[in-house]
């Protein structure tokens, strides 16, 4: 089978199907509005089914593509990373779908770059998207009819009544799926940027889905604008590459990078600029420090959105891009990536401990886990980071969907009003427990069994261990101990969440009384995702097939070596394969394990056994608590240092127009009017000396006769004006003709 034709076809189709569903749903949903109606209950339901079917079909196509890939590229047969020193690219297929523009030697196109990573991501994204679509049938069903939004009061003080927007939700979900797949399949960085922005706008729509709520629209704006700040950096990265290499195609960039600057490559400073620039985009999209503030606010969107967009897929796009562009990053940039990742994971984990909104806890945990991925990539753990991306996608979407199920049942996000729910909703409770165990990386290191997160988090810690071993400087050691501490905090806040929600006694009897288990369409995706959250990290029985072996096949050329920094010559990024050595694997595994268990124990002591009383702890650490409660005061900081100055600056610019330029223009006109009046009066005096009266009479008479022309009709005036102009030209041309001739 010819992969060069089949893979783009299959994945292209899988990519475009959601777009088709978007077009169908959006046009179908808008048509009744031309007539002044709203989409009917039935047609909205159909919209949901269409979108889900498209998504499911995409998943099947992706699976087919995966099967085709695996038959042609058996795992283990080609291990570009297996032999240090061999720098050939992993097996991939690239080409263009169509060209956007070309100027001389410069080409921009919509194309594809397909390797194992692409196919794996396709399967992951479409699978989770399908689950979320199906889940939304149940979760969004209230939107099918008219909705009473109790969180919004209209002018007369009553709760807002509005028509349901069920189909809109699926419309945006479809567009999002399309855009996300576009990022994944993109064959060049320009296309990545295009879809990067598109996922951003989908996220904007989905966060602001409840457009009537000010909090939702503010959050949507914040998300998009903060992302734009990152995209600004990304644009700089693109410009650097584009201006130096003359191409943005992955399959052309990577070989060119290896060349020296004189032969068409990039000089080292430019490489650093390009790397950091690209990473800025990833910082924004993946909500890394210092651009993380949008993600917690993004939880204003409906929960399925949080599960799909703001945990599993879109926010992981930054990590994906770092993985995709890995050869561009030089060791110094990788160090930056690692440091940002480490700061992010620690910061977010600490904030998550105090949050009381169930979705915010999960949001901060997402940020923290993304920090792990970035850290791993930055320390040279290419497979580890992306492996964690995949496993995280499954258990985090599971966790979010579970939280959605809880919110659906109790109609609040506030953990303080939950408790004891495991009796009312056992399916949700235990699938969520699976998710929690997966995210803390539960497993037994000695026996090598555990939940999916166990394998991926261990891989990250192993790489960190290996890095710390290769760089003896104590500062670099922080990059090992921060994630270890993070693992403990993860267990702490995740189980705090679970205990507060499901264990103990109900804290709000009223809400507890009304709680109920969710419908089948919501439970089924939970169970499926829970299964995957357990097993996605495992090796497929009787084969070599596992996520890691798939990713290993896509390992970019050049990452299989230990590299040294050029500016920081002491910096060593170790080869990832070195981290599989038992003398690293074993202690790293146990360290993670004990950290996680420590966190779990602490959470259990505090929230289940209640030996420690959370309230007392809050009292004794009041300053720390308020620091964490206010999310490190990032929002306030940005408000005062960035937002407000920008607005002041904008007012200043606007007032330049009003107070400087306009008065200048007015002044000039006044001066010229004065001059005109002066000349006028001078002329007047002379005229008085002459035959003023005759002239006046003459003028009077002429005026009388010309008065006929003054009909007051403006169009006539204009015609006169035009005619006069034309006449003048004609006269002038005649006159000059004679003048020259004569």
């Amino acid at each position: 089978m010819d992969l060069q034709t089949w893979l783009p076809l299959l994945l292209g189709l899988a990519w475009l199907l959601p777009l088709a569903s978007f077009a169908i749903v959006s046009i179908g949903g808008s048509l009744p509005q031309i007539q002044g109606h709203h989409a009917s209950y039935r047609s909205q339901k159909i919209a949901g089914v269409v979108a889900s079917a498209a998504c499911g079909a995409s998943f099947l196509l992706s699976l087919l593509a995966m099967a085709i890939w695996l038959t042609n590229h058996p795992l283990g047969a080609e291990h570009p990373g297996g032999h240090p020193g061999t720098a050939h690219a992993p097996p991939h297929y690239s080409g263009d779908f169509y060209s956007l523009a070309s100027f001389g030697d410069l080409h921009l196109a919509i194309g594809y770059y397909i390797d194992t990573l692409t196919v794996t991501m396709f399967c992951m994204v479409t699978l989770i998207a399908t689950c979320v679509h199906v889940y939304s049938w149940g979760y969004m069903h209230e939107e099918l009819a008219d909705v009473v939004d109790n969180e919004v009061a209209t002018r007369d003080g009553k709760a807002l009544h509005r028509p349901g927007r069920y189909h809109r939700f699926f419309q945006y979900l479809s567009l999002f799926t399309f855009s996300m797949l576009g990022v994944v399949i993109a064959g060049n960085l320009a296309m990545v940027f295009v879809f990067w922005e598109l996922v951003g706008i989908c996220s904007y729509f989905l966060i602001g889905f409840y457009i009537e709520r000010p909090s939702a629209t503010n959050a949507a704006n914040k998300a998009f604008i903060v992302n734009r700040v990152g995209d600004f950096g990304m644009l700089i990265g693109l410009m650097t590459l584009w201006s130096s290499l003359g191409t943005l195609h992955f399959d052309q960039i990577f070989p060119q990078l290896a060349e020296p600057a004189s032969a068409g490559g990039l000089s080292y400073p430019l490489l650093v600029v390009a790397g950091i620039g690209l990473f800025c985009g990833c910082i924004g999209k993946s909500a890394q420090f210092p651009l993380h503030t949008w993600l917690p606010d993004a939880m204003e969107g409906p929960t399925p959105v949080s599960a799909l967009v703001h945990s599993a897929t879109m926010v992981a796009a930054g990590v994906y891009l770092v993985g995709r562009c890995y050869p561009i990053f030089v060791p110094e940039v990788l160090l930056v990536i690692a440091v940002v990742g480490a700061i992010t994971l620690a910061m977010a984990a600490t904030i998550a401990i105090t949050a009381v909104d169930i979705k915010r806890v999960l949001a901060y945990s997402t940020i923290s886990q993304l920090g792990y991925m970035m850290l791993s990539l930055g320390l040279g753990g290419w497979v580890a980071g992306l492996f964690h991306l995949i496993t995280h996608a499954f258990f985090k979407s599971l966790l979010f969907l579970c939280s959605g199920s809880v919110i659906h049942a109790v109609h609040t996000n506030d953990l303080r009003e939950m408790g004891g729910l495991r009796k009312k909703m056992p399916w949700t409770a235990y699938t969520m427990l699976v998710g929690c165990l997966a995210i803390i990386g539960a497993g037994v290191p000695a026996w090598g069994i555990g939940f999916s997160g166990f394998f991926s988090k261990d891989a990250i810690l192993e790489q960190a261990w290996s890095f710390a071993g290769a760089n003896p400087a104590p500062v670099y050691g922080l990059l090992l101990w921060v994630p270890v501490a993070g693992a403990m905090l993860t267990a702490l806040y995740m189980f705090r969440l679970w205990y507060l929600t499901f264990a103990g006694e109900p804290r709000n009897a009223d809400r507890y009384a009304h709680a109920h288990e969710s419908p089948l369409s919501m439970i089924a995706p939970l169970v499926l995702l829970a299964t995957l959250a357990v097993s996605i990290g495992w090796v497929w029985p009787f084969s070599e097939l596992s996520v890691t072996s798939l990713l290993e096949q896509a390992r970019p050329a050049g990452t299989q070596e230990t590299v040294q920094g050029e500016w920081l010559s002491s910096l060593t990024i170790p080869d990832e394969h070195l981290s599989h050595a038992p003398e690293i694997q074993v202690p790293a595994g146990w360290t993670t394990f004990s950290a996680a268990m420590g966190g779990l124990l602490l959470a259990t002591m505090t929230y289940l056994w209640k030996w420690l009383r959370a309230e007392e702890i809050r009292q004794s650490f009041r300053p720390i608590h308020s620091f964490l409660w206010n999310q490190w005061w990032f929002d306030e900081l940005y408000d005062w240092t960035l937002v407000k100055p920008t607005l002041w600056l904008s007012r200043f610019f606007a007032s330049i127009d009003h107070w400087l330029i306009d008065p200048l223009v007015h002044g000039i006109t006044h001066v010229s009017r004065l001059v005109a009046r002066l000349l006028d009066s001078l002329l007047d005096r002379r005229a008085i000396d002459g035959s003023l009266h005759t002239l006046a009479d003459q003028t009077w008479n002429t005026g009388l006769s010309l008065r006929q022309l003054q009909s007051g009709s403006l169009r006539q005036y204009v015609l006169f004006l035009v005619a006069g102009t034309l006449g003048l030209f004609a006269v002038a041309s005649l006159y000059w003709k004679f003048a020259v001739a004569g």
Binding site: P445, A446, P582, V586, W590
Partner: protein, 118 residues
């Protein structure tokens, strides 16, 4: 560093493993001393700390665990013995003090024992 913890059941253990147990006991003792308000609890913490230290002493002196160049001989065990004895003595004194304090203050809450005179 070979096979520190993997296959714990099929490989011999080393001094380090004993020391980890010792460290656990030691830490528990410290935490006990730091968190218990009951004077007897504090006493138990001290016992734990001493025990943790003892484990280390024994482990370092053990010819089963050390390689051929082990030279401590009985020193480790003798030290451990002294510690045990001193711990007993210290326990007796502490108990006596506690009883005395209980007699005078009517409580064993060390938070109340903040004055030098009883």
């Amino acid at each position: 560093m070979n096979f520190l913890l993997a296959n714990l059941l099929s490989e011999p253990v080393g001094v380090a493993h004993y020391m980890v147990v010792g460290a656990v006991l030691f830490t528990c003792g410290i935490v006990c001393m730091a968190t218990k308000r009951n004077a007897l609890g504090v006493l138990m913490g001290v016992e734990l700390v001493l025990n943790g230290a003892n484990i280390n002493l024994i482990a370092m002196g053990s010819p089963y665990l050390q390689g051929e160049n082990a030279t401590l001989g009985l020193d480790g065990q003798l030290m451990a013995l002294f510690v045990i004895v001193l711990a007993a003595a210290e326990a007796a004194v502490l108990l006596a003090i506690t009883l005395n304090f209980y007699n005078s203050a009517g409580s064993v809450d060390i938070d109340q024992a903040d004055q030098l005179r009883g």
